[in-house]
Subunit: 290 residues, 3 copies
């Protein structure tokens, strides 16, 4: 895709979601479900959260997109997640995986291993989570290092290789959240600046971002969906922080801004760094941060 | 009841709840529990959410009212819901059923079938859910048609017959939420206009409405409770939308307005369309939408 | 500790938390997780909520502090809570117990009995809950009386003896929430006035308080952690109520104020009533309310 095509596809996704209101059901953590659902609704999508294995499987067969967030795993997740992911994969339904808390303990790790073969269309996480998932799925070499549950201890730049390998493996997109976000489909590479430090003072912005990617995945390719959602969050975050530099007001303003963003401004708010064809030729390497 | 009696009973319910602060415990979905509880508190009630079968059964025996929302069913609901509903029925405790997600899959359907004999005092749902419940309980003929989980694909007017049959069966009230809400006890029929399109841009207003009906059911008849809650929501919704036409601010303002509504304005904010005695004589039929 | 030492330790705790951002994981109820996490983040801590027995046990072994709130008990709590509490006790990790809903039914009571030997560093509750826990753990005589789930039917003053016995037994601190809060380590006694009636019109302020005590317990002694959190809530509550006397706006403003409080003002906003050495000599007794 040319840069022009990418920007135009993003603008189109913003508009298509508001027009079609597709529902992306979620299996997601109990802490941030309210925020995830309200973010999905604010951008024009529709939301439903589920737990039961049979329900998740049957709705996965008819939904246009789906969101799986490992967050607050419960015992029945051992059955629910693989059944839902299998149905999604078999129906070629786009789905987003947020491997929150990867490495915490055995059940979670076991489930995440099982999900590999069902290739999530989008993987979203902070740098630590993306690196940990690439290691768990043996897509990069595990040279040690620690993952600390839900907080990122790694810089975005250090997760680029993992993100690219994950995207190549799934054939979809990977988004790494951090001070400057990174979105790739294994070929194109986008940097998304913006956002606000205040995102670290409210809970669930990462989860909400994953949920919003899922609703966009119902109207756009995984790469465009990941990019559109990331850019929306950065832009709405900048505006909200300018309106009120306090966490709870920031959250209210953030959702209000998500609702009001214009497609044209979203389409301008990211930086196309280059494609890996160029990257691997070293032509653009000087522009990189790592 | 005369129209005058209905309006006066609504005003009384608004005041009685604020004075007595009764608690209506809930078994309700994890997505919107915060909103449900805050709405119950804003109107003067008290809230508690529970999951355990024994706890739900024992509190159902002493609570003045109860709320059951199928929302995010979990495996243990198979035991929790029937035991709670049985205890409520045996103790003649008013309870509200919100059949969210009816038809999604087998466990949920199975549980909803079992709840029939425990006759909920109030059934609340969107048009699709009310029609689906009336079909499931074999109160109207099933002539096909689809239900799409938590979103309504039907107009309120198309659910009137189902609502009336449900109310006649339970001996309680039924409220159908939509662009213009419909509340009936199987004899009286009320239209409640108001609200705001912004209710569709935040999650949980339907769940919160069910929870608020439950606290009113602790101080008023099922019919008056359903009507009072519906009218409060419509009125607070109108005011909140006028204050800020953005979803997250709307939600904050909506709860603030619920807290501040005067009993007199609530008592004036619905339209008594007629009673079915008249309806069946055809006298008022021209005034109906369906 | 002298009064001067207490005030200086509180100021230090406020600053240390903002500097170090420690995470206090929680096993806490689904209703108020969002509020708990956002309150923990607003004061400078970090949050993670968990359910799985193995995850809770393994994270309990490495976390600097932990929060256990009985709230919406689920069947697997029977395994999760004792395993987490045992790991916390064995690792001498400070942890906060909020015995919400004590006395509701058999599983919850059974679990709370088992937790006694793992001595929570801080017990937080309303007067009814603190009395009920002291009775359940046989630290005071059970002379009858009723507990009504999550609402307090007792005055703070009536729970002082129970609080003191609990603190002596655990070797930690106990905080009783009410119109005027009471914090003790079994020796020192502090009264914390402030807050707002509006706390009773929003859900979860007690849960959030427990969660905030847990993050402070990662940087201060249980007594100073309980006192700092209690004082922060009272002060932020006063300010928020002055800004907007409506529940949902109050909640937003409350979190914003938590984020902005200065350590110096927190350190001045409680009243050191005396220590029990004095108390038991009767010297200060005239200053007491009960």
């Amino acid at each position: 895709m040319t840069e022009e095509e990418i920007r135009s596809a993003v603008a189109l996704a913003v508009e298509a979601l508001r027009e079609k209101n597709p529902m992306a059901p979620s299996i997601t953590n109990t802490v941030t479900q309210d925020f995830v659902a309200n973010a999905q609704l604010a951008v024009g999508g529709s939301a439903a959260m589920l737990y039961m294995p049979d329900e998740c499987e049957s709705i996965a067969k008819i939904a246009p997109a789906f969101y799986i967030n490992m967050g607050t795993a419960m015992p029945f997740y051992a059955e629910t997640l693989p059944r839902a992911a299998k149905a999604l994969h078999e129906n070629q339904t786009p789905w987003v995986l947020d491997p929150v808390g990867i490495g915490l303990a055995s059940l979670r790790t076991e489930i995440l291993k099982q999900l590999k073969i069902f290739k999530p269309s989008i993987v979203r996480g902070n740098a630590s989570e993306i690196i940990a998932l690439a290691k768990l799925w043996e897509l990069i070499e595990d040279v040690g290092g620690q993952v600390r549950g839900v907080d990122s201890t790694e810089k975005v730049s250090s997760a680029k290789a993992s993100a690219i390998e994950l995207a190549k493996f799934t054939g979809g997109a990977v988004a790494v959240s951090g001070e400057e976000d990174f979105v790739t489909d294994g070929k194109e590479e986008i940097q998304c600046a913006g956002g606000s430090e205040l995102f670290t003072k409210i809970t669930g912005s990462g989860c909400a971002l994953g949920g919003v990617m899922a609703v966009y995945a119902a109207v756009a390719s995984p790469f465009i969906a990941a990019l559109t959602a990331t850019t929306m969050f950065n832009l709405a975050g900048i505006k909200a922080a300018a309106q009120a530099p306090k966490p709870a007001s920031f959250k209210v303003n953030f959702l209000d801004n998500l609702y009001e963003l214009k497609s044209a401004e979203v389409a301008e708010n990211f930086r196309v760094v280059g494609s890996f064809e160029n990257l691997f030729n070293g032509l653009f390497r000087s522009g990189y941060e790592n």
